[in-house]
Amino acid sequence: MQYTLSVLVENHAGVLSKISGLFSRRGFNIDSLAVGVTNNPDVSRITIVANGDEYVVEQLEKQLNKVIPVIKVKRLAEGEFISRELILIKVHCAASKRAEIIKTAEIMQAKIVDVAPSCVTVEYCECTNRVNTLIDLLRPYGIREIVRTGTIAIDRGASALSV
């Protein structure tokens, strides 16, 4: 089971290592982790996507709550949040294939952000599934390089996670 956790933490040096260390130490598998400051400059928000059964998620939430600089932990409910990740893909691109690749990007609503004689770089911001689809579509042309951020996520509707 994959689950997404939003964690509010004090914006101090060393907090991230406390959290990432917790995962490896307790044998929890982590798919992605993204961190950034919130509208309150003293607070950062970490989005964790991880895998495990109910026991693991519950333990993880509890162990995260024990870390002193962790302010709040919330498990986002399936289907009730919006998630995004950003990816930059550098694709091999002979001149003859350029139009095809641009078309693919257009269909997926991705952006071409750089062009060179033998390659193009595509930028895409979507949920993990759509990002993976784009990668599959571009793979046949020859992918030279991929950079992707961790997933960030936010609840749908008016509710807001705050301190």
């Binding site: 060393g14 509890k62 024990k66 302010i71």
Partner: protein
Amino acid sequence: MISGAEIMVKCLEAEGVKVVFGYPGATICPFYDKLYDSDIKHVLVRQEQNAAHAASGYSRCSGLPGVCVATSGPGATNLITGIATAYADSVPMIAITGQVRSDLLGRDVFQEADITGACEPFVKHSYLVGKTEDLPRIFKEAFHIASTGRKGPVLIDIPMDIQQQEIERFEYPDSVNIIGYKPNTRGHAVQVRRAVEAIKKSRRPLIVSGGGVLSSGVKLKFQAFADKTRIPVISTMMGIGVMPSDHEMYLGMLGTHGKPVANRALHDADLVIVCGARLGDRAVAAPDQMSENTTVIHIDIDPAEIGKNVKTEIPIVGDMKNVLNMMIEEIGDYVVPNQWQETVKGWKKSFFRTPPKFDGFVEPRALVARLSSMLRSKAILVADVGQNQIWCANNFMIRDGRFLTTGGMGTMGYSIPASVGVKFARPNRDVVVVCGDGSFQMSMNELATIVGNKLAIKIIIMRNHRLGMVRELQDMHYDKRHSGTILEGDPDFQKLAEAYGIDHAEANSNEEAEEIIKDMVKSDKPFILVCNVYPDTPSI
């Protein structure tokens, strides 16, 4: 103007610290210089790990966080095992380490070690101090964190320049506000009601007392609860001493090295009330130790412990003190079904065994069983780790005193340094150490600390020339191949005691040992009694 070092001392004074255990070095020298002018007593140990164990012993018997101090690099890394021990045993502790100058941090200079990084998995929290101005807030927070919620060690790592820098003034904060740290101590009323209903419905309820009952300081109330309801009680190793050993409804320690009667009760119970225990693998090793249908009520201040090792039907997060008060009120005049009381009492008789004797040796289980009657009722027994720990856990007849050991971490060499802390916390109590010849040699350097501070600690060494517990494992699971478990080259402990100027004796029978102990407890000096034990004496 006031220096960081002076602020550190003032913070400790403001927290009511009377004694610190430590070992100086270059980067902690500014603090030591200011400590010299303070009324706080410094106890110089002989190795840093033992400063942490001493602080642990002090803490467990005084109820205040113990404080240990070391220098940067190797001083700090030597503390680690002691800090990890306190963490596993949930003992409140403040560990203060010197660190290299801030501008040198990260350059791998002489005696530099990333101690906050290294201790990450076994501290409740840690600080690497960046500004002298932050010291009062950090000390205030550290003492608060260490001694509230689930108690544990907090590390404060302080670069030398931060100790030396002078600032305008010192002001100790009255309160703390840590936004992410608000332990829930109250206990949920609805959950308590559910728990009591379940108890009233059950036919064979059982209480498991853990270390949490002791750290919550609610021992007497707990005893009264057990007395009134007649619910049988078993305990984890950390929970030994919650009940007097001879209490009619107390069955002893559970687990792989516990009492068969305690395990039998756990197996047959239809409802188990776990009180402040994590139920590690030594307590509940096999899943079939408890019945599938047993209802588990788990009371703990740490929500992460509930449901971690044992499936729980009714979780109650809160301080034992509060939850117990609520339960007492809710449960009214309830008394356990008579039949269950009688069954348990019957087991207690039928499971009782007198250990066999070997001529020319001391029988350690029988001796430990008699020990309490030769001490004053509030005596504190500190057991080490190994067979000696199990002999003590299962046989020491605790009355109003304490039984201390590291049940969580199981650190060999704990008993002697811990007893140093215990004696500082409780100078008027009988303090007795029971260790093996293996564990004794892990911290016998602290004999100097005992002598230097004139501490009347009585050390009983159960000598079998073996690492008995590992050897027992080898006998059972490794085809009796005694790889690395025979102690060769041991010193003559009598001569060793002589060298330290400690009174000493040796015993080869229980009668002899008891005569010596009777005299030993009368003296106000330390004592070493070596008991020669038959090498193949089993743990249980």
